[in-house]
Subunit: 163 residues, 8 copies
């Protein structure tokens, strides 16, 4: 059976950003489970979810959090599954705090960090991980890449026509 991807956000206010990841993964046909969980407000639930994620059929966990974004690190502490972190921009410091809190993990517990508010890329990265041993998914990624190329070429052609 195919592995699922979990998307955990530290606050439901992160949903507008995180939605891009949900859609992208569903487009790839990947089964997604989405949760609001907090490293600080529901630490027990976060630890339990992470500790059992592998047994529950997950292959990758995506975590989105802002400010002192500890969620991805805390989730990563309880699993050997790859954990992807999306630093969320909040009202101060333009996302730099969340970026550094997510990416600068100490030796032993990596978090695969994507760009600030980079939810789509988190989803693509999760799909790339699952595709290492899944040729069908790999082919879908190849198609998406091709489509991106064609989209840029079309924009360039449109620009040539307009200028």
């Amino acid at each position: 059976m195919n592995k699922k991807v979990a998307i955990i956000m530290g606050s439901d206010s992160d949903l507008p950003i995180v939605k891009g990841a949900i859609t992208t993964l569903k487009d790839f046909g990947v089964t997604v489970e989405v949760h609001v969980m907090s490293a600080h407000r529901t630490p027990k639930q976060a630890c339990d979810f992470s500790s059992n994620a592998k047994a529950n059929g997950f292959g990758v966990i995506i975590c989105a959090a802002g400010k002192a974004a500890h969620l991805a690190g805390v989730i990563a502490a309880h699993t050997t599954l790859p954990v992807i972190g999306i630093p969320i921009k909040s009202s101060t410091l333009d996302g730099l705090d969340a970026l550094l809190s997510t990416v600068q993990m100490p030796k032993g517990i990596p978090v695969a960090t994507v760009a600030i508010d980079g939810a789509d890329n988190a989803a693509i990265l999760a799909a790339q991980m699952l595709a290492i041993e899944d040729e069908a998914l790999s082919a879908k990624l190849e198609q998406m890449k091709q489509a991106m190329t064609e989209e840029v070429l079309a924009k360039d052609a449109k620009l040539q026509a307009e200028l």
Copy 2:
């Protein structure tokens, strides 16, 4: 019985910085317990320690960690005791990552953050918290403040003599 202070460091490499806090608290006659615990490598021990800290007679917990410093936040998630965070400078980014990871806590779970590598101040702050209801400790803090003033005045007097 007087409340104890716990000092937890994320790595034993933080000990040279943390030693200042241990000495300062012992000078105030405060009972100190020091641990190496990691939010990422020993999360269970950290959670357990924090969850039981109040019952075990602690009044304040000091946490020292570098890089994506999640330790203070994770400890704070499991207790209602005040938690003090010391951001530790590591080999890159001059401590800014640890500072932001410690101080920018989301609503609901504060960490009382002191300066980067500011272990002495963490100890003084812990003593100040305990002294709210402890006149003897409060008097010792007042003496320390007086001694600091006299030390600066003595340095100024020495400077006047030299120049």
Copy 3:
């Protein structure tokens, strides 16, 4: 008699941020006194307030200031009570100036710094300090923590229903 908490803001323009701290402390049943005082424009009043705060029944002082935020440091210079600093975001530099001016205190005079604009957390931290020796307040903090957990769990349940 229970210790009071003072909330001092450097400018009345900080009131919209600071209001969160006032409400939170009142919800905990803590007596709050709020002042506009400036380290630079009313230094004498600030020094006097701080010097007499302990005698006047205060247990903790919260200071909110923006830009080169000296207020918390100046207040801390005149008291042995714990001082909490809230760095306020102003029109330039996204609060980084206030954060560094508040948190990077020199040895001997700590300021317990919370997140930029983190007034609610300042209030919770003040309550945590007072609760070290106040079981009733400690119980209220425990309830608030429980309520936060339930709020996140409810949001997660709602999300499961919607997706």
Copy 4:
């Protein structure tokens, strides 16, 4: 057959940092291929390597580069394999330039970024990706995690004996 991991560094001066990743992966029994390739000085070789990496049996590509670190992004542009980026600290800006150049990838082409100079974590992350469908490797990761925990516990025990 098991997938290989490629480690590409932008300059042979990155080898002291990158060695940690080589050792870690070999300890996991993962086959590693190491190259010096530059996004700017050998762009053709980098593109060719990346375009053919999947066909050549690679499952993950790790890229290490400093300053305006384009290597991981350029490699990611030519493959659907997951690409891990290690920002390398150089003589100015303390690694911030390499971090931002690696992590802030535009929509469509993710790079799984680890901490500045975080080569060990890049290796662990690569192993975690390969382990999604490899129970033996997953067990080794679990053992490493266990060993890390025990190492910290031992350090704590030693500290208790010493203090």
Copy 5:
């Protein structure tokens, strides 16, 4: 025959900024060709364009990109023509990521970087390069400089009249 200038933007969303460069160069009578090309989404097209730019009559290439802005570096890797980079401000980090990704190029492959969103200056710089051996263009640059001076003097005169 006079050398042309190519303006390449990483995304068509950069056009509002880039338009200033197009207009400025056309005002100088320089032939401009504008493209949407991406270092990550159309890497082959970008490489081909750059590799053939000199043979196709271009003298300078201007590249505009945001976030982890690799476009100018990738273009510079395939040509000996001077490449000018315009870092584009995006929704996080205020353009600092694009600036560092563009300017901090490693030894051997320079990118002539202008200010964040500095498209007009990129155009003037391109004209200055072409004018090294083109006295007519040099004279036009001199006139533009003169006009700028007069515009400031006129504003000062207007200010004197108003105040």
Copy 6:
């Protein structure tokens, strides 16, 4: 009688940097008084010094402090004399904390800030202020400026001879 310049440093560890200011002012024939005083450790002495500085014959006050550098701001709060701030680089954050704490003063209380560790310039600036109404001092400043020019010209001449 000519106005004196006061140089106040927050810590005697700042003396190696501050010495440049003392020497420079003495070379101009300006009477200098040097003190160690702390906004946090000797606030009363700092306030008293500042409040009486004008009456005691000072024309300018120079303050040097590191980290959360409040000294210049606190001195400026108690006087209408111009106050010059020298941000001192300490062991973390490369002086950025001291710079922002010194320069970002709120409306009403300016601090004339010079470069990080820029003690010589603080002295020259103080002399420039005193020279507004002192033609002899103004002439000395003109001579120093001339000497600087000649020093650079000599270095250029030496370089021409060597290359």
Copy 7:
């Protein structure tokens, strides 16, 4: 005759910020002359103005500029009068570029830098400089300081009434 203050802005778009300085100085009865001049677009005019400023009766020059703010430094290069720099926030980097370009002057040529967009403080600082030898102006500064204190006290009184 009393010395005048010159206010020079690099662009007429700085006028909304600079107006605060004009008003403040006029309120002090200081004669002000305001100019638009650019270090880059009207360098000759800027040099001439600065070279002759002392002879033309100026005592202080205030310069306001954004981005790579060279204006204050260029003006300071041609005079021994004290030069005050106001870094202006522009559309990127939140004023940090202008601040560093203004304050980090090399040895020999100080610029007295105030806060980003701190035009009022620039005016007060200029008045403080002129007041060193002008008791009437000094008295006005003392009155303004008193008024500021009373304004804060009134706001505090109003707050006490409201809460």
Copy 8:
């Protein structure tokens, strides 16, 4: 006759960095003239040099300066030749001040900025500009590019042999 390149450094302490540019340009057979000139200490000489540079046979001017690096901007103000800026790292702020002071030029006066301490790249960029209309120089740049590629390939081959 071939155009010359001028290399101007703000201080002779920049020579160790700048030497790389001198050697590189001489290797290309470009005539180089090197000067110590300061925007602040020898402004007249800098203006004169720049104003006459084109008439004196220069095609490009390279400027190296640290801290509030105004040199490149001031030189660019007086010429229509392309000006290349090398931000020099000094003892504080890791070169960020020099980078922002050099690159963030206002509209109308570009400075082609290279990496902090990137003197070699400044030289290559200058050669690229001169090579727009100089096929022989263009061929040399192509050879250098080829040599760089071969150097990296050789390093990779060596690495394959060693590992």
